[in-house]
C-alpha cells in the first residue's frame, strides 16, 4: 500500500499546531489544569515547589502540621515515626541561621527509583515521585539511597487512615506533593497552610510552563537545588539559601 506522504505531512503539521502558543502565556489548550478524571497524567506538566527561605519563619511549623493533618500522620517526631516534611535549622560558621522545610525533592532522576528492586518506587509522568504500596516490600533501600532523608518506614500497624491517603505497616512512604489534591486541581496542603499564615514561603506550580509563577520566579531570582552536585534535577528549589 502506498503512503500518501503529502497527507502525512499535513497531519504532522496539525499535531504541531495543536499545542502552539497563540501569545506569550496563552496556548490553544491549557496543559496543566482541568484534566478530566479519566485522563492520565502527562509529562507536559512537571510539578515543582519553590521555598523562599527568607520568608520562612524559624518559629513556624504550619506546613508540617498541615501535612500531618492532610495525610493522617501521627505528628510524632520520634526516630521511627513517619515524617514527610521536617523543619530544619541551618547555622553557618558565621553564626547566621536559616530555617527551612525539607521533604522529598521530587528529583527528575530519583535515586530511590534507581535502587528499588520491585519497581514500587516510581516517578509519575508529571514528575511526582511516589511509592506504590501494593508493590513495596519494605526493604528500605530507597531510604538509604535518598540524599535528603525524605523517606519514612511505617513500623507499626495503623488504623483510621484517610480515604485519600492509604498507608500501612511494612511500607516506605514520603511526601506525595499531596497527589490526591493535585489530581483534584488543588495545591498541596503545606503550601496552602504557609499562605494562610501570611509567610507565603512556599510556591507550587508547573516547572514546564514558562509562564507559570514558579517558572518566572526561578528565571528572575537566584535559586538553588539542595545537593545540586548530585545532578538529580530536583523539583523542589530553594531561594535565599
Amino acid at each position: 500500500m502506498s503512503v500518501d506522504r503529502g497527507r502525512r505531512q499535513i497531519l504532522a503539521w496539525g499535531a504541531a499546531m495543536a499545542g502552539v502558543t497563540i501569545a506569550p502565556g496563552i496556548t490553544l489548550f491549557d496543559l496543566a489544569h482541568g484534566r478530566p478524571p479519566a485522563e492520565g497524567v502527562s509529562n507536559n506538566v512537571r510539578w515543582g515547589m519553590l521555598v523562599d527561605v527568607n520568608a520562612c519563619a524559624s518559629d513556624c511549623d504550619a506546613c508540617v502540621v498541615a501535612c500531618d493533618k492532610e495525610n493522617g500522620l501521627s505528628g510524632a517526631k520520634t526516630a521511627t515515626s513517619a515524617q514527610w516534611i521536617r523543619k530544619i535549622e541551618l547555622t553557618a560558621p558565621s553564626g547566621q541561621t536559616r530555617s527551612l522545610p525539607m521533604m522529598c525533592q521530587h528529583c527528575a532522576d530519583p535515586p530511590c527509583v534507581d535502587v528499588c528492586p520491585t519497581g514500587a518506587s516510581f516517578k509519575r509522568a508529571d514528575g511526582i515521585v511516589l511509592v506504590d504500596r501494593h508493590t513495596c516490600i519494605g526493604c528500605r533501600y530507597c531510604m538509604m539511597a535518598c540524599p535528603y532523608k525524605a523517606r519514612s518506614f511505617v513500623h507499626e500497624p495503623l488504623t483510621d487512615q484517610k480515604t485519600d491517603v492509604p498507608r500501612g505497616k511494612g511500607c516506605v512512604e514520603s511526601c506525595t506533593l499531596c497527589v490526591h489534591r493535585i489530581d483534584r486541581d488543588q495545591i498541596p496542603a503545606c503550601v496552602e497552610a504557609c499562605a494562610a499564615t501570611g509567610h507565603k514561603a512556599l510556591l507550587f506550580g508547573n516547572l514546564n510552563d514558562p509562564s507559570s509563577e514558579i517558572s518566572r520566579r526561578i528565571a528572575a531570582v537566584a535559586t538553588v537545588q539542595v545537593r545540586a552536585d548530585l545532578r538529580l534535577d530536583t523539583g523542589v528549589r530553594y531561594q535565599g539559601l
Binding site: 479519566a38 485522563e39 506504590d132 500497624p157 487512615q161 480515604t163 485519600d164 492509604p166
Partner: protein
Amino acid sequence: MLRFGTARLGGRLRMTRTVALLALAGVALLAFAGDGGDSRVPVPKSPIASDAGARCVEDTAFMRRNHMELLKHHRDRTVHEGIRTTQHSLANCIACHASKETGRVTGSKEAFCEGCHAYAAVKLDCFECHTDKAKAAVTASAAATAASDGAGQ
C-alpha cells in the same frame, strides 16, 4: 431383513437421544434450583447497600467473580496514571456498601466485605492500608477524635 434392521437401529438411536436430552434438562433444572438461593449450601447474607435504591456499577454475578480484578486494574491506573474515576474505585465501593450501623465494610461477619471473605476463606488485606469506613463516616470519626482531643486539653 436389512430394512427391518435399519429401522431397529434408528429407533434405538432416537431413544438414546431422548434419554440424553432428558438427562441434560434435569442437570439444567438442578443448576437453576441451585442458583435460586434455597440450596443446601449456606450463602452469606450480606447487606446489599446502605442506599437500597442504588444499583451496583456492574451486574451482581459479575461483581462476585470479578470485583478483585476491577479493583486491581483501577488501583494501578490511579496510583501510576492519576486516573481518579469513581466507577470502580474502592472508596466508592465502600461508600455504598458500608453498614448503616457501623459505617464500615469490615469488623463483623455481617459487614459486606468481611462477611463474604470469611465465608470464602479468602484473606482480605485491602484494609491493612485502606480505610474500611465510608468517607462521611471517616469525617465524623475524625471530628469526634478532634472533639475528644479538645476536651482532653
